[in-house]
């Protein structure tokens, strides 16, 4: 009786050990099945380029920020195509691109699709310059892809464009109290109005 007990125990143990090793093999084969190729993705959510185009008839001014290698590496470059005209109302539109993809990916479309989760904020140090958001999301809150920019008297300073992801909407119009996380924050220095 006793010996048979021990024998069944031994059998059981052997079976368990066998099971354990099978499991072990299964695990290691999983791990080994990995290829060592460089299978890594590109930065999908990257925004490399922000273009703010201001149009008043044939008077077109573009403010562009471009950082083709993303975070780190080379610093981004800002280009301002020319001066704005004083006391003029421009129609503004923003375009976001990921130019590491070919052809360049239009991030603006993503923002349009999720416009209730995004909002642009604008700030300027130029006296008399004001920017109004003219578009609305599905809830009737401003988005800021479309704007109207009005210049005052001649002067110069900076224009800052901020895109917030998941800000509180509606908000008091300032980026600081809207919260959310910043997807874009670009400052164009030395913008002139003449």
């Amino acid at each position: 009786m006793k010996t048979s007990n021990i024998n069944t125990n031994k059998m059981k143990t052997l079976r368990l050990i066998a099971l354990f090793f099978v499991a072990t093999l299964a695990f290691s084969s999983c791990a080994d099945s990995d290829d060592h190729d460089d299978d890594h993705d590109h930065e999908e959510e990257l925004i490399t380029t922000v273009t703010y185009t201001l149009t008043n008839g044939s008077d077109v001014v573009t403010l562009k920020f471009q950082d083709l290698d993303g975070e780190g590496g080379q610093e981004g470059i800002t280009t301002i195509s020319g001066p704005l005209t004083a006391n003029t109302m421009y129609t503004g539109s923003i375009k976001l691109l990921n130019e590491t993809e070919s052809p360049a990916e239009d991030i603006t479309e993503e923002i349009e699709e999720e416009d209730d989760e995004h909002e642009f904020f604008f700030a300027s140090s130029i006296t008399g310059l004001s920017i109004e958001k003219t578009d609305e999301d599905e809830d009737g809150n401003p988005v800021g892809l479309e704007t109207s920019l009005t210049t005052g008297t001649a002067g110069s300073g900076s224009i800052t464009v901020i895109l917030k992801h998941e800000p509180s909407k509606p908000n008091d119009g300032t980026s600081a109290s809207a919260g959310g996380s910043t997807d874009v924050e670009v400052t164009f220095n030395n913008v002139t109005v003449q």
């Binding site: 007990n5 083709l68 590491t100 600081a176 996380s181 924050e185």
Partner: protein, 801 residues
């Protein structure tokens, strides 16, 4: 009436005849285990009124001869069993069977007493099952936090990394069932994947006796030990449930153990834990819940000569990370620091949204030992671990369901050990190991991997000797060599490779010649040779006073994060950069301890000093501007550092029912290279507790404890200014200033009720943070965003069977 009379008459006659036998009666018996009907060997049977003793034989039998008629008061005792008191009226020779019962708790006490330290000269502290059970619904870090000199680095309240003397992550070795844990422990926000409920005892080695497990335990060792079972046929288990008012959650843990007289045993344990959003005193911490499923299985066979044990554990954790901590750039960080409240404080919810972490960890091992005559005990162990870590963030364009970080770390180790104990006064321990580790940054995340693909090969050899000088003095010495090679595949930004870090000149051999747009593919390879050593001394004095002294030399190769990390950390709003130029760090550790062990009065006073050459730290070095705005850049660098301090523990029985416990931890860390304080060092803290116990009243225990953590005034000032384009002004970013002193009070009560002969029920009621104090802890990575947890009422019910 007549019947009764006849019966009386019969009794009378029988008495008369018995008397005539003149104390020639025999009392035989058998002692049996209540649970499995097995015979109990070696039980003592004591007839108290006659002061006669007997012990049971292998079949559980005992016998008393030459007894007289009369009352016998018998006390039956067996190790790990309830003592049984029975009264028998002996009128004739009798044979009787007695059942004894044991419980998990009683077994534990036996086990704990026999559990020795890692090594005799080791300076260590430990937590036993009873204390571990208080943390059944919390983490390893939370439980260890109660020991002096141990603190934790937290991310929110559920991701808790233990810290020994201010050191954490790769500087601590966590040994789970004799397996060194590899679960991407290098990350600050990566908590150890251990289910605390699967452990029996947790020891923390603060001194130098760490060589058996690795050469790189600069901070120390955390050893999670399983239980050794008594060799007997038995079946027992327990279920513990816990419910908390804060987070409206808790856990259920069950374990069942079957042991056999032959030496076989098996244990199955499973645990489920869930919490919703926790609450700080003034608001809900939106997205701070967690969900966790764990299970473990142990099978083994133990005899003196040979044995084996196999262990498998599965841990599945899902941690929500405070939603308010997901920020964009340094201006968002300034907003968070300046506002007193987190930006999102929604009503309570069980939902785990973004950001979050999902981790699964498999650990399996098999170990066998055999004692070889005139040689010693030979042990061979193979273990493997598979860790999969997914981190999810708030992402644009329906990508939130896709992890931003997806890493799979596979580790397997083969090791062997030979303990030679038959030599006079000398015990020797030899060991060798080989290890292969592979990290796979799983494709499909749509991000650059934070940690690249790599293969790591390791081999190690050690020997430790223990020498008994005389009855009161023992010495130990050990030496270890480790070889380690890492072979990684990583893409760098070309400008960073060539210009920022100048790697094209420093490491041209790593270039593969493949360039893809703005990225260059590289194949960094590093080889390290590490030497480590330890010396230990224990001297025993009268009154249970021991003096211990340890010296240790430890060296650690940089971890993958220190070498390769490259990218944005959202919750910290910083870019973290590892450097290929980072070399190994080497520590000299000194620790002494004066200890008195005793339940009436005991203490330990343990000062320590560590000097670390090439201490690797992550510090802010500047600001970079990206399309998202400005970010501080944190870079790994190496300095010389020293850490010294003292841990003091006192326990005193002040009255039959009242006991006092207290501890104090003092620590100072210095960056010697720059002559400034070291970053992220724990603060001076002390605890006091008064415990009332009444064993007669259902083992009633009431404990009030207090913990005070002082504000650290010694911290390195890494504050900086940044330009805010909207306000057109410089903004001061205060990332270094430390939170103020805080004191917390907790109450713990418990009572045990017998529900039947063999079962008991333990009920616990606890209050954490009784006064609902709002406070922030410097060592919480989310301290800029929200307060720590407010008051919590906890109810625990434990059922033993």
């Amino acid at each position: 009436m007549i019947k009764r009379f006849l019966a009386l008459l019969l009794v009378f006659f029988s008495f008369a005849t018995l008397k005539a036998q003149e104390c020639k009666l025999t009392f035989k018996g058998k002692i049996t285990d209540f649970h499995d009907n097995s015979s109990l060997f070696g039980a003592s049977v004591h007839i108290k009124n006659l002061n006669r003793y007997a012990a049971t034989d292998a079949n559980g039998l005992f016998e008393f001869k030459n007894l007289c008629v009369g009352k016998l008061t018998i006390e039956i005792k067996h190790i790990a069993c309830d003592t049984k008191l029975v009264t028998i009226n002996l009128t004739q020779s009798t044979t009787k069977e007695f059942f004894l019962e044991h419980h998990l708790n009683e077994l534990n006490e036996v086990v704990v007493k026999s559990t020795s330290k890692t090594e005799i000269t080791s300076i260590e502290q430990s937590l036993k099952k009873k204390s571990i059970e208080n943390f059944t619904d919390k983490s390893l870090g939370d439980a260890l936090n109660t020991l002096s000199g141990i603190s934790s680095l937290n991310t929110g309240n559920s991701i808790v990394k233990p810290m020994i003397h201010g050191l954490h992550s790769s500087r601590l070795l966590i040994i789970n069932n004799n397996v060194r844990m590899f679960d991407q422990e290098w990350g600050d926000e990566h908590a150890p994947n251990i289910d605390i409920n699967a452990s029996e005892q947790i020891a923390v080695v603060k001194g130098a006796n760490t060589l058996k497990y690795g050469s790189d335990a600069i901070g120390g060792l955390i050893i999670i030990k399983p239980k050794k079972y008594v060799v007997k046929d038995s079946l027992f288990g327990s279920t513990i449930t816990s419910f908390n008012s804060n987070g409206l959650g808790g856990n259920v843990n069950s374990e069942i153990v079957k042991t056999y007289k032959s030496g076989f045993y098996t244990k199955l344990q499973a645990n489920y834990k869930q919490f919703g959003d926790f609450r700080a005193p003034d608001y809900y911490l939106t997205n701070s819940g967690l969900k966790s499923i764990n299970t473990s299985l142990r099978i083994g066979y133990n005899t003196y000569e040979k044995g084996f044990n196999a262990f498998y554990s599965f841990v599945n954790n899902e941690f929500a990370i405070l939603q308010s901590s997901h920020i964009g750039n340094v201006n968002d960080l300034v907003n968070a620091i300046n506002s007193q409240q987190p930006r999102v404080t929604d009503p309570f919810s069980y939902d785990i949204t973004f950001p979050k972490q999902q981790i699964t960890h498999h650990l399996a091992k098999i170990e066998g030992y055999k004692r070889i005559k005139n040689l010693g005990k030979l042990t061979v162990q193979y273990d493997l671990q598979l860790n999969r870590r997914k981190e999810f963030d708030l992402r644009r364009g329906n990508r939130s369901e896709t992890p931003v970080i997806d890493l799979r770390l596979f580790t397997n180790t083969l090791q062997t050990n030979l303990e030679v104990a038959h030599l006079n006064n000398l015990k020797l321990d030899f060991g060798a190991l080989v290890r292969y580790q592979q990290n796979d940054a799983v494709a499909g995340t749509g991000t650059n991997p934070l940690i690249p693909d790599f293969d790591r090969y390791e081999a190690g050899l050690f020997t430790i000797s223990n020498y008994t000088l005389n009855e009161n003095t023992e010495l130990s010495a050990g030496i270890r060599y480790d070889f380690s090679k890492i072979d990684a595949r990583k893409r760098y930004n070309i400008t960073d490779w060539n210009e920022t870090f100048n790697y094209d000149e420093l490491f041209p051999e790593f270039e593969t010649g493949v360039e893809n747009g703005t990225r260059i593919s590289t194949n960094p390879k590093f080889t390290f040779h590490n030497w480590s050593a330890s010396l230990g001394l224990i001297k025993r004095f009268d009154n249970n006073i021991n003096f211990l002294a340890n010296y240790g030399l430890a060296s650690r190769m940089p971890n993958p994060s220190e070498l390769f990390s490259d990218g944005l950390h959202h919750s910290a709003a910083r870019i973290e950069t590892g450097l290929l130029t980072i070399n190994k760090e080497v520590a000299n550790k000194f620790a002494v301890s004066l200890e008195k062990v005793g339940s009436d009065f005991g203490f330990s006073v343990s000062p320590y000093f560590k000097h670390i050459n090439g201490f690797i730290q992550l510090i802010p070095v500047g600001i970079t501007t990206t399309i998202r705005g400005a970010f501080p850049v944190w870079e790994y660098n190496q300095i010389n550092a020293q850490i010294f301090g003292i841990d003091i523990d006192v326990n005193k029985q002040i009255h039959k029912n009242f006991a006092y416990n207290g501890s104090l931890s003092l620590l100072q860390g210095d960056n010697l290279t720059e002559d400034i304080p070291l970053i992220h060092m724990p603060f001076t803290n002390f605890t006091n507790s008064i415990t009332y116990t009444n064993p007669k009243l259902n083992q009633l225990t009431i404990q009030l404890n207090q913990k005070t953590v002082f504000q650290q005034n010694r911290f390195p000032d890494y504050n900086f200014n940044t330009f805010n384009a909207i306000t057109q002004s410089q903004v001061f970013v205060d990332i270094s200033s430390t939170p103020p002193t805080y004191s917390l009070f907790n109450l713990q009560t418990s009572a045990t009720f017998k529900t039947s002969k063999r079962n008991n029920l333990k009920v616990e009621f606890n209050i954490d943070n009784i006064f609902n104090v709002a406070y922030r802890e410097n060592l919480n990575r989310l301290r800029y965003f929200a307060d720590e947890l407010g008051r919590n009422f906890n109810l625990k019910i434990k059922y033993n069977y």
